[in-house]
Symmetry: C2
């Protein structure tokens, strides 16, 4: 809190990025002189996405930037004055709005990247009623999609890395690149707007992806960027004549060597052992394109091999160029498959690589990457594992960034306390009943370092749980579901990420990108058994103290109208 | 083209908002001295979204802004130089990149808001190979989501407005507000990033929504904004004491009248005919909140009525306050339902309104709005119509903005010509084979003003179709599917939206927001029969000229390798 963070990554994030009703409610509060009353709101969700049992909390980084920068501009105010909905408002209201900032707010939240569960307060927003209200929509926008995306990314990485386990069951598979497949984000072109793309790159990295194709995300956030060439590059060449003068630099000697001549020596078996007739029947435009690419990027030769025919053309053309590139002192990187039966094609490619590694005595062929892209989602990843494959890298776009399986997380933002008094919201849908009052959440760990459950206590009345001391933890809605827990370790889940130190809290700093990523990895590594399962995962308990349980049920009974019969 | 448009709405839209492979390909082209070769790319999709038969083309507005502003900054270049993937590139390349702009490009496209169909070139990008390549990802990002969203919005509006038709079948329904239900966009908080929200507001308006809750979209684009209050506002009041001093201004006399006293006169039947005992058993905190809201916004009283109990509390509290507000000279606007059985609740509310209109002699109750929100999607709208309801306005959020039913449109960007020579891309998936060469699309209309089909001709060889003259139109992939069309009217579908006038084309101007919206409405009004059907809609033919058909098949046979058997 000593130095201000930069403004939000997206310049559209301003106080006007909100729903009109936040402004009309603020006016009504201001007019009725309630705008300064002390309110506490909670931001939480009611259900994990993707039929899963966990959610990765993200977006706090941009929330904190927004809080620091929060200020209506004179231009904003002029616009508001001009809208029909607000034109009859008292002019003094707009003077009030112009000077509103977040200096009186305190924001507590989970750390960035923290595993989160239904009903846990992800963020607690405390301060003047009007300001808390003005923050609602923007905070939801800044948290819903990032948390959804990071969760989606983590699920895909977990699914991709089930690979080895599955492979052990397929003895016939070539042992190509026996390492965990990695995931790279390729989704910008199909994202829901430019910002959807940039956010996806960031939060997918936190969720476990290793890189992105999105250059801007690289520049703005330092995420590793990745990419080679597209079909258009291959199509742009029709014949070998177009590349007859291109050279490659011999790495050690610096000598310029004609690339095409060297490739043709292999292809036409001029000075080499018989490489096979199939190599002479490939598409020559494609071979020309790979030669052109190798001439420009000898250090990082990775070719898209499915423009014409993967097995009979693209794969073989890559191998020809790879042999020359290797002769020149570089290590070819691999191929990318973007259509067809990815499992079968990857196996065919791995077999060819294994064969050449041996016949040409080039062990590097054993470890070139086989990148697969083309509408990959969690289900495809599972099916690929079941079929058996030799893919080493997944490029995942559309279904990652748009979260196809569930394109929105349902975080809500609810008033839980006003002027020190807990507030309740009933609902005809029992699942939507609010747990009233201000709470403090803790994560209780067992002896083996695994989280046992989360416990929310009444912030005003309860003592925090203590390691080694038994504490009663109750399901907030089910009377009979009670657990006495003696935690080995207790971690308070909320840090104070914004606002003055008026109480005992110390200010917390939001995890940076790399810290968030590491934090996610660490938590997934120590996840309770069953939590990460894809079918029927084990839901993690979020409980309340006995005191909070009793208070909730008392208030509920008081406010729910008694049914009458006569 | 005489004056430059403003920069893109989202400042993230810069040349770096692209995939790395566009830069690496550009380097390879530059290094091999092919970057200036004249290329033609086409942007198109292969399948309509949402199992439908039409797509609304949108996003051209931001594309044109991007083209005008396209320029790498020195900072961008420094970043690119520093990335591992590009660190071995010739330093002169970066000098080239720094001076790249779109001054040599010509962009033809459908008009903004045009109905589009599979394989129709939405945008044709012509100019130097490298620049065309550098534009790919950004253009896809700027078109995919806007077109998807506008289409989703239009489908929802069409579905919502099936209402009257359905209602005729339900004679028991109260004839409340016998006008077509309207749709308002409420999705910002669940959008995929801030820009997803702002884009959604804009393109939903073009697709037929009448307003948005998003204030920033109102400011930036002049879209009508809408909103009143949330549950939090209701929860913030606990008792009538909190509003005992609030007044309302008598509209004609200007007199300040105590609002609570007037409300209590109705509630407790002090000076009025018996309004019913039920009114005395409502939640008083809620009544206080409505009084507070009416005091601030007497001109636009619209209350959220489901915080505690819609029929037994919220509805009745609204009616009490509405009576007073009406006495003071204003017309109350209505209620909003945000949970429960929306069809049944809306009917119950309409019945109460009809009853009060009569018993209290207040005809205005017949025409107050019944707004419904809460996870509405196309399917819910259909079910509501089937059940029968009295909803007059839908607030649609999550499922509109995230396009839940299909969260991405699959536009692609393909090289179709280089140096005047058509380029082909084959594929193991026949549906992905490219139609090579540069084309001009036309829409052919029948006598009744309805479009018959679209025809793409060879831009280099074919004569444009002419009204009154028969022209052979062929399915590009099916030999036997041929139609001789004598159009009554022929409309060229492409306008030149960017680039110098080197040929006969006249520059076109992108439809503004209102023009786009009107254009969509007009086209949907004259859509061919079956096109808008929701189950098994009739697909609209996109055909090619006989010449283009023959050329495509000749080239295809030439480039597809002959199978060999021996």
């Amino acid at each position: 809190m000593t130095s201000h963070p930069p403004p939000p990554t997206n310049a559209l994030v301003t106080p006007l990025l909100t729903d009109l009703y936040q402004i009309t409610m603020t006016y009504a509060h201001w007019k009725n002189k309630r705008h300064e009353e002390h309110a506490v709101f909670e931001l939480f969700f009611r259900k994990n996405p993707f039929k899963g049992a966990f959610t990765i909390f993200c977006g706090l980084d941009e929330v904190v930037r927004h809080l620091h920068a929060f200020q209506f501009s004179q231009e904003d105010i002029e616009y508001l004055k001009s809208t029909p909905s607000l034109q009859n408002c008292d002019p003094e209201f707009f003077e009030y709005l112009l000077q509103v900032d977040c200096s009186q707010m305190q924001i507590r939240a989970l750390q960035h990247g923290c595993l989160a569960f239904p009903r846990l307060p992800l963020v607690e927003i405390a301060g003047p009623l009007a300001v808390g209200q003005l923050l609602e929509t923007t905070l939801l926008t800044l948290i819903n999609y990032p948390s959804l995306l990071a969760t989606n990314a983590a699920r895909m990485v977990l699914q991709a890395q089930d690979h080895d386990q599955t492979r052990q069951r397929h003895d016939t598979l070539p042992q190509h690149c026996p390492r965990d497949p990695k995931c790279i984000e390729f989704g910008l072109r199909r994202a829901q707007g430019p910002d959807g793309g940039v956010s996806a790159s960031k939060y997918a990295y936190i969720g476990g992806f290793i890189a992105t194709s999105n250059v801007l995300a690289g520049k703005l956030m330092g995420i590793p960027i990745s990419g080679t060439h597209a079909h258009a590059f291959v199509q742009s060449y029709l014949s070998l004549e177009e590349v007859q003068d291109l050279t490659i630099t011999q790495k050690e000697s610096g000598e310029q060597v004609n690339l095409l001549n060297k490739v043709l020596e292999y292809r036409d078996n001029k000075n080499h052992s018989n490489i096979g007739d199939a190599f002479q029947k490939t598409n020559e435009g494609e071979l020309a394109a790979f030669i052109a690419y190798a001439s420009a990027f000898p250090e990082s030769l990775l070719c898209l091999v499915d423009t014409y025919d993967t097995v009979n053309s693209g794969l073989l053309n890559f191998c020809l160029v790879a042999l020359v590139v290797h002769d020149m002192g570089y290590t070819p990187k691999g191929i990318r498959l973007d259509s067809g039966d990815l499992a079968g094609l990857s196996m065919a490619c791995a077999q060819k690589f294994a064969q050449l590694a041996e016949s040409q005595q080039r062990p590097f062929f054993h470890s070139v990457d086989i990148v697969a892209s083309n509408d990959i989602n969690e289900k495809t990843l599972m099916e690929l594992n079941q079929q058996g494959h030799a893919i080493t890298v997944y490029g995942i776009g559309t279904n990652l960034v748009t979260c196809q399986a569930q394109p929105a997380l349902g975080c809500v933002y609810k008033l839980v306390e006003l002027n020190g008094k807990p507030r309740l919201k009933l609902s005809q849908d029992a699942g939507k009943v609010l747990i009233p009052g201000r709470k403090r959440p803790y994560r209780l760990f067992g002896k083996d370092g695994t989280p046992l459950l989360d416990l929310m206590i009444d912030a005003r009345k309860d003592e925090p749980p203590v390691a080694g001391k038994p504490v009663l933890c109750r399901n907030p809605f089910q009377e009979l579901d009670r657990t006495m827990v003696t935690p080995s370790r207790v971690v308070p889940l909320h840090g104070l990420f914004f606002g003055g130190n008026n109480d005992d809290d110390k200010s917390a700093t939001v995890n940076n990108l790399q810290e968030s990523k590491n934090f996610v990895l660490e938590q997934l590594g120590q996840a309770p058994q069953g939590l990460l399962d894809r079918s029927n995962p084990k839901q993690y308990p979020v409980t309340v103290s006995d005191n909070l349980y009793n208070f909730l049920h008392k208030m509920w009974l008081e406010q729910l109208p008694m049914k009458e019969l006569s």
